[in-house]
């Protein structure tokens, strides 16, 4: 499995820890996992400290999660983006459309 996904509760915030490589093959697994959370008004943080790589298929999943969370009156934030993924975000214009925090705890505190 190219990507490992783990869910942790931090107070009222759900932190989803994503590790590995978020490529076109792995993206549907994350999409499935997030689908159950983003439609319920969840306060959701994606901890990306262990994510080495993301392709546009991965970005598509993040974008969908952000849209759905917003539509269900939840909150969505990203934490701890690695340099490789940040570069892809920048080229795609993604750094401006997500709330991004240096680490999981700051992200959770910001949207709690």
């Amino acid at each position: 499995m190219a990507v490992e996904i783990e869910e942790i509760a931090v107070g009222a915030v759900t932190v989803v820890v994503v590790q590995g490589r978020l490529d076109g093959l792995a993206a549907p697994a994350l999409d499935d996992r997030l689908a159950g959370l983003t439609t319920r008004g969840t306060k959701l943080v994606l901890d990306m400290a262990g994510l080495d790589y993301a392709s546009s298929a991965g970005l598509r999943v993040l974008l969908k999660a952000a849209k759905q969370t917003k539509a269900s009156k939840g909150r969505f934030a990203l934490a701890a983006i690695t340099p490789t993924v940040e570069k892809i975000f920048e080229i795609s214009g993604f750094t401006t459309i997500f709330d991004i925090y240096p680490d999981r705890d700051q992200a959770a505190a910001a949207i709690a």
């Binding site: 490589r21 790589y53 546009s56 298929a57 970005l59 974008l63 570069k87 080229i91 214009g93 401006t96």
Partner: protein, 143 residues
């Protein structure tokens, strides 16, 4: 750096992304530029995925050839497939400033390739699409 070439025959299934990733990681490591691997991997994945999902409609059993080649100061990748003619180098301009609700993601892969690489070419040859891309790599592009 010495010159080197690697050929890869892939089937038109997304499961092949693992082999593609391994081949590119190994190639860049052996070429002495491991730090360049994510760029080449990203672009190869974007194009491979587009071919499988859009060019071939997700149909397995088509051969997709990948050639990775090291030049004097650059790495180039060529991908050929038997999907209907499609030129991915045709410029498209995704709206990078649109708010999250309005963002469409189509064409983002092609935008990534044309931004990251310094060459991105297409030709139709013997009923196959031939896409090539590459960029200069610096000797110190280790990690």
């Amino acid at each position: 750096m010495g010159l080197k070439k690697v050929y890869l025959l892939l089937d038109s299934r997304l499961e092949e992304l693992d082999r593609l990733a391994l081949a590119i990681d190994d190639f860049c490591a052996e070429a002495g530029v491991p730090g360049a691997a994510p760029d080449f991997l990203l672009c190869a994945e974007e194009l491979f995925t587009n071919i499988v999902l859009h060019g071939l409609g997700g149909e397995a059993g088509h051969r997709i050839d990948v050639e990775i080649a090291q030049g004097e100061d650059r790495i180039d990748v060529a991908i050929t497939d038997d999907a209907p003619p499609f030129d991915p180098t045709t410029p498209i301009a995704p709206d990078l400033d649109a708010p999250v609700e309005a963002r469409a993601i189509g064409g983002l892969g092609r935008h990534l390739v044309s931004t990251i690489m310094d060459s991105f070419c297409y030709r139709r040859e013997r009923n196959r699409n031939c896409i090539s891309f590459g960029r200069r790599v610096a000797e110190n592009e280790g990690q």
